[in-house]
Symmetry: C2
Subunit: 193 residues, 2 copies
Amino acid sequence: MTDAAPRARRSDATRAAILRAARERFAADGYDRATIRAIAADANIDPSMVMRYYGNKEGLFAAAAEFDLRLPELAGVPTGRLGEVLVRHFLDRWEGDETLAALLRAASTNPGAAERMRAIFADQLGAAVARFGTDPATTARRAGLVASQILGLAFTRYIVGLPPMVDAEPAELVAWVAPTLQRYLTGPVPGTP
Amino acid sequence: MTDAAPRARRSDATRAAILRAARERFAADGYDRATIRAIAADANIDPSMVMRYYGNKEGLFAAAAEFDLRLPELAGVPTGRLGEVLVRHFLDRWEGDETLAALLRAASTNPGAAERMRAIFADQLGAAVARFGTDPATTARRAGLVASQILGLAFTRYIVGLPPMVDAEPAELVAWVAPTLQRYLTGPVPGTP
DNA sequence: ACTGTATGCCAACAAGCGTTGACATCGACA
DNA sequence: TGTCGATGTCAACGCTTGTTGGCATACAGT
């Protein structure tokens, strides 16, 4: 009986509007340039409401950056197609939800955002990689390498806007990058002949 | 006869001190959080001097983010070792000069910094890749993919601080990542059997 | 020695920021 | 109907920011 019945409150719509506006602004401008006033204006409410519902700017960001990678169960994927499945999944996840972009932009300057990013890619991705049974001694490193290529892809395509990466069709990117992830995940540890 | 003799001016030391402090601050805090006041304090001068010598904050950043990748002449490298040479070079360049870190942090929120980043990786890296003679139709894409892996490596290691990437020895990173760059540079275009 | 210019510091400005508290209004429940 | 908490608006606060102009000092050329 810990929770009281979570009856729908009238302010839920406002809360959601704030969160949506916050994600948009954080994704477009980063943590510092995304001002509470601008977010409130986008959500058509008063800045003080943001404070009432989320405490302060850090609290708002923490709520807006809540994120689940929704990684598929890798144990069910044919071992040879792990890379392909992962790239495609990340591209989809990125285009459909700007939370990751917000996190990516903010992580450059905000320690809390960087911490969140570390948690997501160490815990969620690390766990998924561990679950299909590589050598436990190397899973962390393998997951880190996968993260480096995935985040580099996102950074060049969505943040910096490097032309050849922006123009590329998703299918092309999958074809190029999948073998990289595949090797990071299932390839032999280099230097061990 | 265009330039007058560039006699050493007494203020050159101050200019240099400002630039050094600016690079440090921009690298550590990003564009927005690196304040002119803090930079001036680090350089032991008055904030107004920064304005006199660099016009405004954007001008200061533009000067501080001047950067040459100093890519080696790839034409002289054995084709099979291109990836290895490139990763090693970038790791060295990164550890020894915080300008790239400053650029990386700032590019997330500052349009000018993103533009600079695009220029560096499109022009300098693009030119180097083009010079060892791949199919000209694919060089831009190949260079973009290399940039994505290199920047992802830097982002996870120096900005986000993902533990497995921070703990790794440079040699290990080279061993893991070199084959990736090698394939992006010299591998066949995927999907063409 | 005198003058003009380069170099530097100080004080202040206007604008924008996160944040706060007081007050109005609505809706449910007795 | 009267009461009380939830919801929302308004105005203001203290602070930091980039930027500016005025004034002192040091130096170089005559």
